[in-house]
Symmetry: C2
Subunit: 350 residues, 2 copies
């Protein structure tokens, strides 16, 4: 089991990654007043595991799915916390994927102005990305993550045992953030290129998970609240990814990130941010993870959502674009120019 420390200004956070992490969580919380937040999918598979790991802890089971990441879900958790008579020293355990981590994390941040928080991610996406770094949020009025807080979990326990039950779609979802990390961090990038044929094997993805967390921890330590600009690099592929996610909303977050990376490689190339050969390399890598980029006949409408995004203060649309292996660049485009690129997604492809 690997132990990764995240030294942020607000509070230290420690990530346990590997076999045995679930048991370590159980031992860590022995004697504490734990409160488990999970969803119907996870509960169906792991209700017994939860009872065994956290005996006697009350649980709040939310309906599964991204579309429930809203204020109703948030206040359902807060209400159950009141029912359970939690206080500040109580520990919220976010047991599930990214949606549960985001919502339970925000509830922990807000209840009595902050309880203790432990993340126990059960999906590849949550293990390699969203459980680390303290971003919590719910969507509101069609805008993703617009109501939230930076709130570091004191511990994150990433146990690969939960990945065995993941549907292929959820694995692809995690792949989105792994491929993104590979473009930002050349250590991860080289490993992916050298093992591109293993990109759908859980054993290899588990190995990458710790590398991804280590990279993200380094970024978050230097820019916890996205104020210096460094943390923005983690949004590679996300401007388009988020816009399409809001426009269509059927695929997983990670798939939209992959589609975003694919499209934004054309922007990087077209705007002279990277060489055409590197843009091609990026697209090939994306296609290893997601063999077919779907067609979006109404892609240009995504512009509306991109303009609402919190990264896009002012009148343009901002991107973090791939520049070369392990390097990125920031670019802001006028809306109409971005619409032109979005149309690539609307074109017929063979």
């Amino acid at each position: 089991m690997e132990i990764i420390e995240v030294h942020t200004k607000s509070r230290p956070s420690t990530v346990y990654c590997g076999e045995g992490a679930a048991q370590a969580a159980s031992e860590y919380l022995r004697g504490a007043q734990a409160f488990v937040v999970t969803d119907t999918n996870v509960s169906r598979l792991y209700a017994d595991t939860i009872s065994r790991l956290f005996p006697g802890a009350p649980a709040c089971v939310l309906p599964a799915g991204e579309r429930h990441k809203n204020r109703t879900g948030l206040f359902t958790i807060l209400g159950k916390m009141l029912d359970a008579q939690l206080h500040r020293p109580s520990v919220v355990v976010a047991f599930g994927g990214g949606v549960i981590g985001d919502m339970a994390g925000l509830a922990a941040a807000l209840y009595m102005r902050g309880t203790r928080l432990v993340q126990m991610p059960t999906t590849l996406l949550a293990q390699v990305d969203s459980s680390v770094g303290g971003k919590t949020a719910v969507d509101y009025r069609g805008v993703k993550n617009v109501v939230g807080a930076f709130y570091q979990p004191e511990r994150v326990f990433c146990d690969p045992v939960f990945l065995n039950t993941l549907p292929a779609r959820e694995v692809r979802c995690g792949l989105g953030e792994i491929v993104k990390t590979g473009l930002l961090d050349e250590k991860v990038g080289a490993k992916i290129r050298e093992n591109a044929d293993k990109l759908h094997e859980l054993a290899f993805l588990q190995e990458l998970a710790a590398d991804c967390i280590r990279f993200k921890a380094g970024v978050v330590e230097r820019d916890e609240t996205e104020s210096s600009g460094l943390r923005k690099c983690l949004n590679l592929g996300h401007t388009t990814g988020h816009a399409l996610e809001l426009l269509c909303g059927r695929r997983s977050h990670g798939e939209y990130v992959l589609i975003g990376l694919w499209l934004e490689s054309f922007i990087a190339e077209g705007e002279g941010v990277c060489e055409p050969s590197y843009a091609q390399e990026v697209r090939s890598l994306v296609l290893r993870a997601l063999p077919r980029i779907p067609r979006f006949p109404n892609a240009a409408e995504g512009l509306r959502f991109a303009l609402l995004d919190k990264k896009n203060a002012g009148s343009g649309v901002s991107f973090i674009l791939p520049k070369s292996r392990g390097a990125y660049a920031e670019l802001t485009l006028p809306p109409e120019r971005y619409a032109h690129y979005l149309n690539i997604l609307a074109e017929e492809r063979q």
Copy 2:
């Protein structure tokens, strides 16, 4: 105009206190994208002032009153912030009393995980206490301030010009926190004793305001998030005050604090925390601010609310009690023992 720096870990905060503070706010925000949150009472009196101080800034006017400090109010603000297309560098201006400061502060903390925040308190209570220190919250399911965050305003502008239109009830409300501060800080305490006959004169209260802010700033700097225990001292009188406020809810927060201080002087005396003569001094001081302590026939029911309070982890009820001039002590009572004291409020008095 006095300038008081509050050096907290999360972010520095500066308080401007005195004539001209409103104009200073206007100058400070020139060129920024300001967004004003206020209520119907304040707007009726100061709509023109707001337009003059912050020309062109969109405003969100909430219904006035403590009972609107809830999630509906919070999401009304967040929705209007989306309508106004605010981004992180935008500035929320909380223009009003404690309720507006708490709600607008929480909205600023949550919108896009945090925008800029300026507090512009217009009541005595907000000027001497609630606008400083970064506590933000809404009530939920009958529990006061149970959903909130610590979020420091970058600037607080306390201009006495707004106090001239305050109804007597609102002045008494501020007096609650001033008297409380006088019991915790002997510098303020001595000033109050020496000028007890001026306790309802605005000029004197304005003079005390800066002293109160300076004292609170010192406490908040040393314990921003109530983790070391020091900040809890600010809850003197509040255990009973909050419980009665939730039970009855007709008087102002500050009046309940005064009633709480009065009752808790009996607890301090009865439990041997202070000398009877000092308990008598505390009650005399309270009666200078609030000449008549009302009778609460159902006072014992307040116990239920006291047990829900976030300060009362575990099975007892915790108090910060007056010990001697400028000194306090913490005490936890079994619920039934507290109920016994609460009955003092139910007794007939002449």
